[in-house]
């Protein structure tokens, strides 16, 4: 009896997330593959066509160039922040990540506010409608990844390697060249691959900044689907993109295997180097300050221009959000965009976190008893991480291709986008909650059990309080992801489910300064929300330091 109950519980706990992913992720994705799989000639036709070859080449090219520039600029920044201690370091690391959390649409509007006609730089930096603006946007977006990912693993590296090299006669440059650089290859490769993939799948920036002259694979999929209704070509392009993404992922895995070293880590309180003298200190801070200013400039200008009109500082642009000046019957009050976006973000966050929690709970309650459970949990994790490799536009395409079967009341409604965003956010939710759960000492749970706590009580009174922080992070993160998400929402957008990002892109595509003004105002609000959300997450990330029963290790023992 008890075992029947347990089996049912297990079925529910794993069945719900698995069913969700199968129906709303694997199935639509399968439709894309089916479409291109049954029409292999379409894939070859696309590959043989000069125009599409140009699109594919351009996508790879701009991503590669952006990645290299990011590495070149990011490396010295990562090095300085990793190797030295100075005041303002944490702040710098937070600020440099800000563009990364900004929605692509916001970045595009900000870049237009800077470089398009009437923009601050329009006169003397003619970047508008050139590829360099796209690359600049890519670099601003991703530079933080190098500083954060490479910088933080650099920081963890034990200084002993550098010291051994010094004792063996290596000067500063040689230590950097022959010790640090090779040891950092895995971390740098990881950062580079991430940046490449982001730029490779970049949609919003290229769609909104590239004009009609530049098209990436993503943008082309969108155009073929929604403007030309060439579903077969879109599916073929999606197929090619998936293959290229998989290839990049395989290269990454290969590098990680090849360089799978056990690196000694910096001991608990091994002293970091300090900048010597206030002169050096000031120089570094000045340089980092300039970097932050450059990175922030587009957003400053965005907000500035949302208030500044021909009549000086006004709230006109914000007021215009509520007036229907076109007299158009189809005018959609921007308020609707806000309502849609916030409802969708909230829904997606709750759904994604709920599903992720089911997996975690299933793992907690059954792992020890059944071998099959840990196998199930692992396969859910693998399936759940797949959306990371699939772009939002391709996911959208999959939903469109399977539209006939998805019950129609769902289609074109907000719930559809809630579901898509939950699919996209699920891997992040799981990646936040799982480690938090695994950090809980097993003996703590056993202690609770010995004290008579049932598995539900252990969950309620031990696990939940201990992972509260991770829950908050997961919810906020998926919210931010959803608020800024553009590609998937645009692919399936209908007047009654258009999100903020979709709304902004609509205003951008319509002529007139009034519409651009609305885009400015909405982007500023969205930028503000994203910035606040990011600060909140950073705050939540600060580990609460309490240590029970573990030994404080001496300094140099790593």
């Amino acid at each position: 009896m008890a075992s029947l109950k347990r089996t049912v519980a297990l079925g529910i706990l794993f069945g719900i997330p698995l069913g969700f992913l199968t129906f709303f992720f694997l199935y639509p994705l399968g439709m894309v593959f089916l479409r291109s799989g049954f029409q292999v000639q379409e894939v070859f036709a696309v590959l043989a066509d000069d125009y599409y070859r140009g699109v594919i080449w351009f996508t790879v090219w701009q991503a590669a160039v952006s990645t290299i520039i990011c590495l070149l600029i990011g490396l010295p920044l990562a090095y300085v922040t990793a190797q030295y201690d100075f005041r303002g370091k944490r702040l710098f690391r937070t600020l440099i990540m800000v563009p990364f959390v900004m929605p692509t649409v916001v970045m595009a509007v900000a870049m237009r506010a800077l470089f398009a006609r009437g923009g601050l730089f329009a006169g003397w930096l003619p970047l508008y409608e050139t590829v360099w603006l796209i690359i600049l946007a890519n670099v601003l977006y991703n530079i933080g990844i190098v500083v954060r990912i490479a910088g933080e693993s650099w920081e963890r590296l034990s200084p002993q390697y550098r010291e051994v090299a010094a004792v063996l006669g290596a000067n500063h440059w040689q230590r950097f060249r022959f010790v640090h650089m090779p040891l950092m290859v895995p971390a740098l490769a990881g950062a580079a691959l991430l940046i490449f993939l982001y730029c490779f799948c970049s949609f919003g920036v290229i769609l909104l900044l590239g004009g009609s002259s530049f098209s990436s694979i993503e943008v082309e999929i969108y155009r073929q689907t929604t403007q030309l209704l060439h579903m077969d070509i879109a599916a073929a392009l999606a197929f090619i993109q998936l293959i290229l993404t998989l290839f990049a992922g395989a290269v990454y895995l290969f590098l990680q295997r090849k360089f799978r070293w056990q690196l000694l880590e910096r001991g608990q309180n091994y002293p970091r180097r300090r900048l010597s003298g206030s002169g050096q200190h000031r120089l570094v801070r000045l340089l980092l300050g300039i970097i932050v200013l450059v990175v922030f400039l587009p957003f400053f200008v965005l907000v500035f221009r949302s208030f500044y009109t021909e009549n000086g500082f006004t709230l006109d642009r914000y007021a215009a959000l509520f007036t229907n000046t076109t007299g158009s019957l189809f005018f959609l009050s921007p308020f609707v965009y806000f309502r849609n976006s916030f409802l969708i973000a909230g829904g997606a966050a709750l759904l994604a976190v709920f599903l992720a929690m089911l997996v975690v709970i299933a793992d907690i309650s059954f792992r020890k008893r059944h071998k099959a459970v840990s196998w199930l949990a692992q396969s859910v994790q693998i399936i759940a991480s797949l959306p990371l490799g699939v772009s939002a536009v391709v996911l959208g395409l999959g939903y469109l291709l399977s539209a006939l079967i998805v019950p129609s009341p769902l289609f074109a409604s907000r719930s559809l986008i809630i579901i898509m965003h939950a699919v996209i956010g699920f891997p992040f939710a799981l990646a936040t909650l799982y480690p938090a759960y695994q950090r809980i000492e097993p003996t703590v749970l056993e202690a609770a059990q010995v004290l008579g706590a049932t598995s539900w009580q252990r969950m309620r009174y031990v696990v939940l309080p201990l992972i509260r922080q991770a829950l908050a992070i997961a919810v906020s993160y998926v919210c931010l992801l959803s608020l800024g998400e553009f590609g998937a929402a645009l692919m399936v957008s209908r007047p009654d489910n258009a999100t903020l990002t979709v709304g902004i892109s609509k205003y951008l595509s319509q002529p007139g300064s009034l519409n651009f003004g609305r885009a400015l105002a909405m982007s500023s609000i969205l930028a503000g929300v994203s910035f606040t959300g990011m600060l909140l997450i950073e705050r939540l990330r600060q580990p609460k330091t309490y240590q029970i029963g573990s030994v404080q290790h001496a300094v140099h023992d790593s």
């Binding site: 034990s158 090299a165 004792v167 006669g169 022959f178 040891l183």
Partner: protein, 214 residues
């Protein structure tokens, strides 16, 4: 005048004095064990001798030369770190040849020297092995070979046995002592194990409350 002289070396961190005017003399070929519980400042003393840490006061003299103000890369000291800190991106030969390459030794001479050192530490034929495939004992010998490559003037060994299990320890201790003796260099050997200290060294110095008991 002795070959190695530490003259009144003092070091404090955050107001706590770990080394309080330490003086020590060593002769060529002499092995001194530096004994003391964890956290007493043994590693700090070695780091000061190697130039990785600045003493608050005191002088370091090796081979009758005052090296107190020299950068670590100019001191020509063999330092075996606790945990060995072998370079994971280089194989066994690459680790041993690291310092030789920096000095632009010709390829042939590097090969000879590496072979000679591997012979010495009983690892001939291991040139191309990745270091993470070696046992802890073998890693220890690679680290030892690496710090000998440039013919240093002084050997500093920071708890070389701490990552080894008890069974291999006794054997390796005797072996390491032979290796050191073959070099005829002065060596300072850190340990917190009195038994180990007695076995390896000619002389035991005990570090306690910042003072050295000879």
């Amino acid at each position: 005048m002795s070959y190695v002289q530490l003259q009144s070396i003092s070091k404090a961190y955050a107001g706590i004095s770990y080394l309080d005017s330490i003086s020590l003399e060593m002769e060529r070929g002499e092995i001194v064990a530096l004994l003391g519980p964890s956290g007493t400042g043994k590693t700090t003393l070695l780091r000061i001798i190697a130039g990785l840490e600045q003493a608050d006061s005191g002088r370091v003299i090796i081979e009758y030369r005052d090296i107190t103000d020299l950068a670590p890369e100019k001191r020509e000291i063999g330092f075996m770190f606790q945990g060995f800190a072998l370079f994971p991106h280089l194989n066994v030969a690459g680790n041993i040849a690291f310092g030789l390459r920096l000095r632009h030794w010709p390829r042939e001479k590097i090969k000879e020297r590496v072979a000679e050192l591997l012979e010495l530490v009983h690892l001939a034929g291991f040139e191309h092995r990745a270091v993470h495939t070696l046992s802890a004992g073998q890693q220890q010998r690679v680290a030892f070979g690496r710090c000998l490559a440039l013919s240093p003037r002084l050997l500093l060994l920071d708890e070389p046995m701490s990552s080894l299990d008890v069974d291999t320890k006794t054997h390796l201790l005797r072996e390491l002592r032979t290796f050191i003796q073959q070099t005829n260099l002065p060596a300072m050997y850190i340990t917190h194990d009195p038994e180990e200290a007695k076995r390896i060294s000619d002389r035991v110095a005990r570090l306690q409350d910042g003072r050295l008991d000879l």
